[in-house]
Structure formats: structure tokens, C-alpha cells
């Protein structure tokens, strides 16, 4: 691994707009091996020491940068980016005066093929978030990890920690074994609704198949530029299965997919729905109506069209500025900066909603 340059002081100072409430809807806390072992039960620690993890292949690492991280995000002493609360508080929350941050640990608990070990891992990650992060920093909230390939095991974990005030959503990953509208995942939605928890779907994993409909790509850039493909499959599945008729209160948060691709997806789905609705008896409304009512979208990695005016044109076509959630993706290298990511052309009213107000409402947080 390339050794990071560890001088972390002397970062440029930020223009912090104190009138703006900022909620970062995608922060990654990194759980190192020692932490995982500490939070596993003795049985599962023994299992882990002897057999490790068994997941799917096909995930690429490093991703352009060591640990896919900002090169200035390595805490002094060699700990991994995202693993030290104090360093993150200083480099992210304090630096931009962030009011709340939502943690999404990407530990791979959900894509363990041994589902019971997946549950043990998910429990460990959830307890670690509560003990080491959210209870030590009032600005942080956690996401409930579940072994999502098994609906009932996932529901078990949601019932265990769903009432904890530090946990604000259930976390799924975008590349699942089947599309997320499938029956096997319904117990997850049912359990989440008992605690009024949104379902976040974050980019990542492989689920055992390539992200594209055309096999495995050769380069990381294809993975990154193509992230919308897996999200589009999930949204199409959820709408087509009539999930939002079955679970009318369900809230879905799409995390780390950008936003622009939703526009043509809605156009396309509305068109074919008018032609093929007789295939989907559970679906009662236009797909775009379900999407606008049930989905929230995190902004990162935000679109940066070479012609800046195209960004605001896209926002008008999207018509979901009340559903966009600002996110940095800290400490990852494709980080969006709170003071620079949203283009200047965006109105101050829309900016306020995107930077914080939408997330405050969604997660029931007080400004």
C-alpha cells in the first residue's frame, strides 16, 4: 500500500456559512479488525479467528486511493481513515460546522454468505456504533446494519436496536442477490416501519454479480461512472413489485449514486407503465408518483456538468429538491465539500433544503 503523506495540519480554512444548517447524510466510520473482534461474542470471535469472512469476489481495492480515502484523512499514527472519532470530529464536523452526521459503516456484514455470521457481524457493528460513536458525539446518528439476504434474521436485528435513539435508519447495499422489491426482503421493510425507520440503500458490494447488464467491466472508472445502473434496477424493482402499495409509509434513501439519472428513469418508467400496467396489478399510480413520494436521494458524488447551467435545468426536471440530502462521503476520496459542492446557481432556498432541512425532517432531528 502506498504510504500516505501524513501532514494533516495547515489545511486551508473554510468559509463556514453559520446561517446554514448542514446535515451530512453519508459519513463512513471504519471498523478495524480489533474493534470487530472486541464486539463479536466469544463464539463468533472464535469463528472469525478460524474462518474469517466469506463474501463475494469482484470488489476492487484500492480504489484510486489507498482505502479509497482522501489522502489527508489518515489519522496520525497510521490508523485507517474513518476509524478515529476525534480525528473525524476535527476534520469534518468542526471544520464545516456540521450540525448532524449520519454514519453508514461499510463493513460487509450484509453480504456475508454465512448468514448467521452476517447477523453476528451486524450486531457487533451496531453495538460499536452506539458505544464508540453516537453515545460519544451528540452530532452523530447511526444506521442499523442487517444480514439483508435473510429477511427474518434482519428483522430480528431491527427489533433489537430499532428503538435506540441513536439509530435513524436501516442500511442495505445496492448490489443484492435479487432486486430489492423481491418478497425475500419484505420482512426488512415490515420491521423498519414498526420503528418508523427509513431504508437507506448505499452503493457497493457485488451480490455475486456484475453491476452492469453486460458482464464485468475492466476498470474502476466503469464501476464509479456506472453506479446509477444498480440503483436504477433497485428502484424499478421496488416500484414494479408494488412495494409502496404494500408498505405505504415506506421511505427509501438512495445513498451515493448522484441524482441526475432519476429524471430519465421516471420518464421511461411512466411511458412503459402506460403501455404495460396490466402486468402489474398492485401498482396503482404512475411510477414517478411513487418515486417522488417514497424516495430521498443523497447528492454525492454530485453531478458537475461542464456547462454549469445544466445542473439547475436538471434540478427543475427532477422536481425533488425537497428530497435531496447533502452528503460528503467522508473519508472517501470522492468526498463532496460542504462549501463547494452545490453549484452557486442553486437558489438559497433550495440550498437550505438540500444542505440540511430535508434531512432534519426525514430523520426527525431538531435544528
Amino acid at each position: 500500500m502506498v504510504k500516505p503523506f501524513s501532514a494533516v495540519s495547515n489545511s486551508p480554512t473554510r468559509d463556514v456559512n453559520t446561517d446554514l444548517t448542514i446535515v451530512d447524510s453519508d459519513i463512513h466510520s471504519y471498523m478495524d479488525e480489533d474493534c470487530l473482534r472486541r464486539f463479536l461474542s466469544p463464539y463468533w470471535r472464535n469463528h472469525y479467528d478460524n474462518f474469517g469472512r466469506l463474501g463475494y469476489t469482484g470488489s476492487l481495492m484500492p480504489r484510486a486511493m489507498p482505502k479509497a480515502a482522501r489522502h489527508d484523512a489518515w489519522p496520525p499514527g497510521g490508523a485507517f481513515p474513518g476509524s478515529k472519532l476525534a480525528f473525524m470530529q476535527n476534520q469534518l464536523l468542526d471544520e464545516w460546522n456540521i450540525r448532524y452526521g449520519i454514519l453508514l459503516p461499510l463493513t460487509g456484514a450484509g453480504d456475508q454468505i454465512n448468514l448467521e455470521f452476517g447477523l453476528a457481524m451486524a450486531r457487533a457493528v451496531n453495538d460499536w456504533q452506539i458505544e464508540d460513536w453516537t453515545s460519544k458525539e451528540p452530532r452523530l446518528r447511526g444506521s442499523i446494519m442487517v444480514p439483508y439476504e435473510d429477511g427474518s434474521l434482519s428483522a430480528e436485528e431491527i427489533h433489537r436496536v430499532g428503538n435506540h435513539p441513536g439509530m435513524v435508519q436501516v442500511l442495505l447495499i445496492t448490489r443484492t442477490r435479487e432486486p430489492l422489491g423481491s418478497r425475500r426482503y419484505w420482512p426488512i421493510y415490515e420491521a423498519a416501519l414498526e420503528y418508523d425507520l427509513p431504508i437507506a440503500i448505499h452503493f457497493g458490494s457485488t451480490g455475486g454479480h456484475a453491476m452492469t447488464g453486460a458482464g464485468w467491466p475492466s476498470f474502476y472508472i466503469e464501476d464509479h461512472a456506472g453506479m446509477a445502473q444498480s440503483f436504477q434496477s433497485q428502484i424499478t424493482s421496488m416500484v414494479s413489485q408494488g412495494l409502496f402499495e404494500l408498505f405505504p409509509e415506506l421511505k427509501i434513501v438512495i445513498v451515493e449514486g448522484g441524482v441526475s439519472w432519476i429524471v430519465p428513469l421516471m420518464w421511461r418508467m411512466d411511458k412503459v407503465y402506460q403501455q404495460l400496467s396490466h402486468e402489474l396489478p398492485r401498482v396503482k399510480e404512475m411510477p414517478s408518483a411513487y418515486i417522488r413520494r417514497h424516495f430521498w436521494l443523497s447528492t454525492q458524488p454530485i453531478e458537475e456538468p461542464l456547462e454549469p447551467h445544466q445542473f439547475t435545468e436538471m434540478l427543475n426536471q427532477l422536481d425533488m429538491t425537497d428530497r435531496l440530502l447533502f452528503a460528503t462521503d467522508y473519508p472517501h476520496w470522492d468526498f463532496d465539500s460542504p462549501d463547494r459542492a452545490i453549484p452557486r446557481a442553486v437558489s438559497s432556498r433550495d440550498r437550505k433544503r438540500i444542505m440540511g432541512e430535508n434531512a432534519l425532517e426525514l430523520y426527525g432531528l431538531t435544528a
Partner: protein
């Protein structure tokens, strides 16, 4: 333009860098095979600390399938989004017509040259309990002393 003394040569070995704060600006000083270059430590993209990024080389291809890797150690990749800049010129490579980082001239001199400015200094004393005191002009003011 005024000159500021920022380091001694032995403080920045070949291939290394030093980040300094000069007149309110964070600046990276780089040593490329004995030549010194200075760049603003702020990326024109999203304001990331550019000079904390990795140093790499220049990848080019005259025809598809050909790969030429040259000038190793002379291209700086931003610590956030990996935008690449030429340390010698501040020139960006992915979109050179539109993106450029501020470059400053660097000189090696015989010794420190007194600049036009002088920082304000204060008398410091240590008492018999090893507590350090600093004397400031004006009346005694209640306030918080904080570590930077």
C-alpha cells in the same frame, strides 16, 4: 513581490515537501531533484488541501493501447479528487485550458534575507514551577488561553 523565508534546504530533502503558512496562505514547497517549487495548498476544484496529495508521474499515450509513464515525482494529485497538476508550473492536466493552480516563485539564497514585515513579539518568562508566561501590552483581560 516581497520574499518570505520559508525553510532551510536541509529541511526539505529531494522528493519531499513542506507545508507552510505564509501571509495567511497555506503553501506547499516541493523539492524536485534539488529545484524548489511552491504551490497554493488549495485545489481550484473544491478547495481540498492539494499539497497533501500523492506525487505521481505523467501518463500519456500517442495512440490507443500505448502507455508512456514519465516525469515520475513531478505531478501532484489532489488529496481529495485526484485532479493532477504539474508541480513545476501549476498546470492541470485533465483540463489545462480551464484549470490552473496558483504557482509562486521559489529561490535558494545564501542565508535568511530580512523581509519587509516583522511579526509582533512578546516577552516570555518561566517561573520556578515551569509555567510559561507571556507579557502582552494593555490592561489585564479575562479570557481563554487555547492551544492552536
Amino acid at each position: 513581490m516581497p520574499k518570505y523565508a520559508v525553510a532551510t534546504v536541509d529541511q526539505i530533502p529531494e522528493g519531499q515537501r513542506k507545508i507552510v503558512e505564509v501571509a495567511g496562505r497555506s503553501i506547499g514547497i516541493f523539492n524536485l531533484s534539488g529545484e524548489f517549487f511552491a504551490l497554493r495548498n488549495s485545489c481550484p476544484h473544491q478547495g481540498g488541501p492539494l499539497c497533501l496529495g500523492r506525487v505521481t508521474g505523467f501518463l500519456s499515450a500517442r495512440v490507443p493501447g500505448e502507455r508512456t509513464y514519465s516525469r515520475h515525482g513531478e505531478i501532484l494529485r489532489c488529496s481529495w479528487h485526484a485532479w493532477e497538476f504539474d508541480i513545476r508550473t501549476g498546470q492541470s492536466w485533465h483540463n489545462p485550458d480551464r484549470v490552473r493552480v496558483r504557482k509562486y516563485d521559489v529561490f535558494v539564497d545564501e542565508g535568511p534575507v530580512m523581509g519587509p514585515y516583522k511579526a509582533e513579539t512578546f516577552p516570555v518568562s518561566v517561573d520556578d514551577k515551569d509555567v510559561i508566561f507571556v507579557e502582552l501590552p494593555g490592561p489585564l483581560t479575562a479570557g481563554v488561553v487555547s492551544e492552536a
